[in-house]
């Protein structure tokens, strides 16, 4: 594992280099590789090194894959390496700077670029650009070798980190080429047809060890919480226990949403040992002290009267009852998500109809590393550095710049490993908070939220009420489908609610929204958790009612698409679906879709009828995820999702009473 140092400016990299540097620059056609020569003429901040080859053959590749255990830190440079035919053992990784215009992928939902490692899409969205980048580097290497040998570049081939002339067997390593090579002012174009065929992949799809693993077994992996700077002090915050969020994802930039501290025991806390200052924030207080233990003691000693918050008096159990009423209210505001065919007619002419209702809880990320960040502001106040484990370095840089009144370019973001992300770490909110505190005390600050703060200020998976109805015809086929989800969180509520893998001809799917003031956020795909549970539970109820095997029911009566049929067939084979199980055990099955991947799962459980306790004995999952860059990582991710999902459904719950989260740490969550 190479320790990653992002404190390198492009200038210093170029000045200190002998060897070839390929740069990624923003052109009219989006991000592309440019040569040094061209890069030097583009004297602006949108140019930074992407791939460089040293004369000793070391290939340094920037990775934009924020690493929270999912493996994309390794997967992304592996894609570059594949197309440039690099010897992977000679590749070292560095974190890509937080500049989305250069290092971002094309946002599939808008005309911009993003570095957000979210939605299980990092590899998928970076894949095309990174393949092209690798292929261009390879082409330049081939051109240089061809020139040296006086032959046609098209007659040459490559093996890992070597260009070969098949006519006479001569070879030039990439490192050797770096000693004499030049980079054309305009890099060669690569036709997509020139990219490697899947059968020729040496790295993609092969079991490759993750680069971050060795540092994670000897204590050297650096998380933001481990960063220590000269003169650094510690901070910990106490926010209003009652949230004051607007609808949708919490937006830390909306000041009017904040519940301010009104009065607090300022002098008492400031007199505590080690305490340096108490900083008032727009939505809380930060105690700054010489060590974390003194900071925490100060934070725990705070007695605060808070101004009015939006969620004052909110009770999550009562809200679920309200959701039922909202669902029954014909005048409730409704967002239609899917309208196919004639649902009314399908239900009017149904041979039989089915109806099911479900409630789901708030979910807390509970990532192992409590939220934290480190910020240092330069003496002249004109630049700042931030250290954070972020799923969205570009967002974090923006948030810090905004908090300090700086331009984005004046903030250097230093990526760290993430001690769990699960969707929580993509706003930069706590990094911005740390910057505000650092500015107030005029010293480098490490902000650590206590676990208690982390849960009290959680941004949760929204709770929901769902009502589903289905209509079947005389043959038992499902002809009509209605699904209504009620809750807070706008689009967070609706992911996974559509059923593109089923061919039900008449569908009406809708959302009915409320806004409680509770902070909400993505939570490992978020809506899929409760929507899939509801959808697949109703499908199972119908299969049982009709006395048909649940897989057969989905194929024959739900119009399952062929790709869906395949994942069911695979998981049936893996789980030996038709085999008899031990007494007291039963199987469950379901399907879900996320970011283009389709997965089917089988669980074997037993139920203690006296206590209602479910025990999960075995789980099988089959996933059709398209091209898999790192099969081992993909397997890990699925294993992780299984455990996370089971834990959530069997053990976890956030409840809110009188506006405040009732749970406080791992023992009661």
């Amino acid at each position: 594992m190479t320790m990653i140092d992002t404190n390198i400016s492009r200038r210093s990299v170029l000045a200190g280099l002998s060897g070839m540097t390929f740069c990624l620059a923003l052109g009219t056609d989006g991000a592309r590789l440019v040569s040094d020569a061209e890069a030097n003429t583009l004297a602006n901040a949108h140019i930074t090194p992407w791939v460089r080859i040293a004369p000793d053959g070391t290939i340094t590749i920037y990775t934009a894959g924020a690493e929270m255990g999912q493996g994309s830190m390794t997967s992304l440079p592996l894609i570059v390496s594949e197309e440039m035919d690099a010897d992977w053992s000679k590749v070292v990784l560095e974190w890509a700077p937080a500049d989305e215009k250069v290092y971002g992928y094309k946002n599939p939902f808008a005309d911009n670029r993003l570095m957000w490692i979210v939605g299980s899409r990092a590899v998928q969205l970076y894949y095309p650009d990174l393949r092209m980048a690798g292929a261009q580097v390879r082409k330049v290497l081939l051109m240089n070798a061809a020139q040296k040998w006086g032959v046609d570049a098209g007659s040459l081939k490559t093996e890992p980190s070597v260009v070969i002339n098949p006519a006479n067997g001569t070879r030039l390593s990439y490192g050797e080429i770096a000693t004499f090579g030049t980079i054309p002012a305009t890099l060669p174009a690569v036709d997509p047809k020139e990219l490697k065929a899947r059968k020729d992949f040496r790295l993609i799809g092969k079991p490759m060890p993750r680069r971050d693993v060795p540092a994670k077994v000897n204590g050297t992996a650096q998380y933001a919480i481990d960063v220590k700077l000269p003169g650094m002090v510690y901070a910990s915050t106490l926010h209003s226990p009652v949230h004051s969020a607007g609808p949708g994802i919490w937006d830390p930039g909306k000041q009017e949403q904040h519940a301010e501290p009104e009065k607090w025991n300022d002098a008492e806390v400031k007199a505590l040992k080690g305490v340096i200052d108490v900083v008032k924030l727009s939505n809380g207080l930060a105690v700054v002290a010489d060590h974390f233990e003194t900071t925490k003691a100060g934070r725990d000693a705070l007695k605060v009267t808070w101004k009015k918050a939006k969620a004052d008096g909110y009770n999550s159990d009562r809200a679920l009852d309200d959701y039922v009423r909202i669902h029954a209210d014909p005048n409730a505001q409704t967002q239609t998500l899917e309208a196919k065919g004639d649902v009314k007619a399908a239900f009017a002419g149904a041979a039989k109809t089915y109806h099911a209702e479900f409630r789901s809880d708030y979910g807390y990320h509970a990532q192992m590393e409590p939220l934290n960040a480190v910020v240092r502001i330069s003496e002249d106040g004109r630049s700042a550095e931030v250290w954070e484990g972020s799923q969205a370095p570009d967002e974090s840089r923006k948030a810090v710049a905004k908090a300090l009144g700086l331009a984005n370019e004046q903030v250097t973001f230093n990526q760290c490993y993430l001690g769990g992300g699960f969707g929580r770490r993509s706003l930069g909110d706590y990094a911005a908070e740390c910057a505000t505190i650092a500015k107030a005390v005029n010293r480098p600050v490490k902000l650590i939220w206590t676990r208690e703060e982390d849960i009290a200020q959680g941004m949760f998976r929204p709770q929901s009420f769902q009502c589903l109805e289905a209509a079947t015809d005389a043959s038992g086929k499902v002809t009509g489908w209605k699904h209504c989800v009620v809750g807070d969180g706008e689009f967070l509520l609706i992911t996974g609610i559509k059923i593109p893998y089923y061919g039900v001809p008449n569908q009406h799917i809708e959302r009915r929204g409320v806004s409680h003031g509770v902070k909400l956020k993505h939570w490992r795909a978020v809506g899929h958790v409760f929507n899939t549970f509801a959808i697949e539970s109703l499908v199972d109820q119908m299969a049982v009612d009709q006395g048909i095997d649940p897989i057969a029911f989905r194929i024959e009566r739900m119009g399952l698409v062929p790709k869906g049929r395949k994942v069911f067939e695979k998981v049936a084979e893996m789980s030996d679906w038709n085999a008899k199980r031990p007494d007291g055990r039963a199987l469950g099955i379901s399907i879900t879709e996320r970011s283009g991947s389709l997965g089917a799962g089988v669980v074997e459980i037993s139920l203690d009828r006296a206590s209602g306790k479910i025990r999960v004995h075995k789980v099988w999952v089959a996933v059709d995820g398209g091209v898999i860059v790192q099969p081992e990582s993909a397997r890990h991710n699925v294993e992780s999702a299984i455990i996370y999902g089971l834990s959530s459904i069997l053990h976890e719950r956030v409840s809110i009473k009188d506006g405040a989260v009732e749970q406080s740490n791992f023992h009661d969550y």
Binding site: G69, P214, K228, Y417, E639, N665
Partner: protein
């Protein structure tokens, strides 16, 4: 002021006697492999050895380690050569990795007293060390591998 042996070295730290060992090790000494997860003895991310016994560093006061021997992940074995560390890599256990120092220290305690634990004994011993990435099955596999290969 507290003096104790940390990873075979004598250390003296200017910390209040009530300071949790976790912060003594992380901030005062600067060994950051031991992690803060809950601060309440609930998650196991801060597990270290105190005179050979796995303890939660966040629940261990500095004053109670005076003159005693503390081993953290950094001192478990030279060059990360402990059979568990090798097995952890072979089984590619860590995902986010944040809990893994604590997991390995807890597992090392088990293998010292029981070099050939059964699966049930492993599960029982490791119960209480939380991994939110859900690497539990691989942790079990790695402990079994280390037990075989040690």
């Amino acid at each position: 002021m507290v003096s104790f042996t940390l990873n075979s070295k004598r250390v003296t730290v200017e910390a209040d006697p009530s300071t949790p060992l976790l912060w003594v090790v992380r901030d005062h000494v600067g060994l950051t492999g031991t992690k803060y997860g809950c601060g309440a003895g609930l998650c196991g991310a801060c597990t270290v050895h105190l005179d050979g016994v796995a303890v939660r560093a966040c629940q261990t006061q500095a004053s109670s380690v005076e003159g005693r021997t503390v081993v953290t992940i950094e001192g478990l074995a030279e060059n990360a050569s402990h059979p568990l560390q090798k097995a952890w890599i072979a089984e590619q256990v860590p995902q986010c990795g944040y809990c893994q120092s604590g997991q390995i220290m807890k597992a090392a305690e088990l293998l010292k007293s029981n070099p050939r634990p059964s699966r049930a004994q492993i599960v029982e011993h490791m119960d209480g060390n939380i991994c939110r990435c859900g690497t539990y099955n691989r942790i079990i596999a790695a402990i079994q591998r280390a037990s075989r290969e040690a």
